[in-house]
Symmetry: C2
Subunit: 350 residues, 2 copies
DNA sequence: CTGAAAGCGCTAACAG
DNA sequence: CTGTTAGCGCTTTCAG
């Protein structure tokens, strides 16, 4: 009978604490003390243990440990973002990881793809793996399934979007104000027919940007009843199509406010294809890598993703340390970067 | 004496399988069978168990389970990439996650930031958490610390960069060939003074790109002894500086081959600042979002990050399923996308 | 400063 | 089809 694994090196079993203890000639509890840097171990004993650890290439099993440990901490958190492939989300992820690493905490990351089912599934997998805490970007309008989670003592911090119907720590941009800022910028250049292009309006962020836009139009005395708002635009291709249609309409907008990254991309593609990039003003939410080199360079509303991620992580880890904090909604300001495309004036301007 | 947590809802302890069993009026093993979809449970019993699960909001503890389960599988893998904030790495992450999710596997993600110490630290944390397998982008020249890992039966697949001195599954682009392709493209337009700008040469990917560049120069009969190669460029700012210096030299290059994303960005910034974007040819490794809208649009070598990630995940999961596979180096082709900047001819061309 | 015993929540192996 | 017993690797508790 041949071995089932003829080529590979024979699998040597992973070392256990017991084996380390035997090799070092001490009890398992002493090994545990050394590994976890607990006090009350003589330097000599500790050194013998470390030698055994190296000799056996031993790595503690945190999972097994947390089974018994007070509080059952796994030193692992769950992070749910729109997509691990999205630059904005990546920056948040980065900021969270930086803080986590400092504390020896690992991060389970997952993408929810704007799908409430995926979101719920991802959270379930996090819970099965006994994460200590959760940082979530949510796509759900029904967060009731999370109520029990917080009750079980697992802290949750929401990032990017405020949760619906749940009183919990939240860190977001100042979406409505930022949208108003951009809108005011365009109105100041003389625009009155401004189109807002926005993603799925069930995403709170999208809705807030729309609201900020409309509010600012209202403040400027521009009738919001006939305001041009296009929602439910998913990605660059639909945006590209839509802008094409819009611009060939009898009364085309003189400015476009794109409320999201990919929508900006699609908008620009059509403008360039039509050679109209110098005629229609554009402001985009979220910056893009080469935006400053285009002609005209793109005026954007830049969110501080790093600050958002850092604030969320800070909040979560402080709760995990046991700090008693009131539930808070932290708002990170976004800023407008004027580069050219947002300063184009409408054709009929004096 | 006041409660230490006066405002919050009292923390209800997490439900255990035993509690579910008691509530459903069955043994724990039956609950285990139902939860894990094992056979040999009557529909009626299963339904009672599910009711109890819902009532108690029970989530299995996979950690505890894997302690006893044959093979000790945790259904979690570790993914190490250059940075979770890097678009190329994000695309790999995405592809890995997609496959993992299908199999109910979670992903612990970490950034190594081109730092061997961070890399080793991250792997250690993965191991402590008993991941079933590892997908690694490595920055280390000494991978000896991983030998024991594979011996313990934990499969490793390397992505983006081949490991030094370790015979293991690897998925990379065809770096040398792709660099040669880009170089040939420039030579075909009449360029002979081509500068290659490349990241840290200790990164195998960077070295391979340099080698492909030099090899192609050699094939074209261009003396490689005087070839212009600038290594150890970390990010956009140093690249920006360097290009400025280069272009003010007595015999400036007529074409620039940027071997990395951020270097391309810096290169372009200088070219635009000097108004020379129509005079100096540029080819960049890795695509950028707005590259097609610039004037001239940027010619790039595009790596298929999704395919790389997918191939790596496929390999890992097949090994985890127990398939016996020979160690393999899978090479994913990269392609050249000609857009304009790479087709600029040198000033002295006939 | 050190170690022995108990048990965390679960699943393997077996008995019914 | 179902339940009981043992024990995974670790940390807690408590006795030296």
């Amino acid at each position: 009978m041949t071995s089932p694994n003829p080529t590979a090196t024979p699998v040597r079993q992973r070392a256990t604490m017991k084996q380390v203890a035997r090799l070092a000639g001490v009890g398992t509890k002493t090994v545990s003390r050394v590994i976890n840097q607990e006090p009350n171990v003589s330097a000599a004993t500790a050194e013998r243990v470390w030698e055994a650890v190296r000799a056996l290439d031993y790595h503690v099993d945190m999972q097994a440990g947390s089974l018994r440990r007070a509080g059952g901490r796994t030193r692992t958190i769950g992070l749910l973002i729109s997509s691990v492939d999205n630059p904005f989300a990546g920056a948040i992820h980065r900021a969270v990881e930086t803080q986590a690493r400092r504390l020896g905490v690992s991060v389970l990351a997952a993408s929810m793809d704007e799908d409430p089912d995926r979101e719920a599934q991802a959270v379930k997998e996090f819970l099965r793996r006994r994460v200590d805490g959760l940082i979530l970007t949510t796509a759900s309008s029904d967060l009731s399934y999370l109520a029990s989670v917080t009750q079980h003592g697992i802290p949750i911090v929401f990032v990017d979007r405020a949760p619906v119907g749940l009183h919990a720590d939240t860190v977001t941009s100042d979406n409505s104000a930022a949208a108003a800022l951009g809108t005011r910028h365009l109105i100041g250049r003389g625009h009155r027919r401004i189109a807002m292009l926005v993603d799925n309006l069930s995403i709170s962020t999208a809705a807030e940007r729309r609201d900020g836009f409309l509010a600012e139009l209202g403040r400027a005395g521009i009738p919001t009843g006939e305001a041009i708002v296009h929602g439910d635009i998913h990605g660059a291709d639909p945006a590209e199509q839509l802008v094409r249609t819009m611009l060939s309409s009898p009364e085309p907008p003189t400015a476009i406010f794109s409320a999201q990254n990919l929508i900006t991309l699609g908008t620009l593609r059509t403008l360039y294809a039509l050679g109209m990039q110098h005629q229609v003003a554009v402001i985009g939410f979220d910056d893009l890598p080469l935006a400053d080199l285009l002609d005209p360079a793109i005026t954007v509303i830049q969110q501080d993703a790093s600050a958002i991620g850092a604030a969320a992580a800070d909040r979560l880890f402080r709760r995990l340390e046991g700090e008693q904090l009131p539930v808070e909604h932290i708002i990170i300001p976004a800023r407008l970067i004027a580069r050219g495309s947002g300063e184009i004036t409408p054709p009929d301007a004096a």
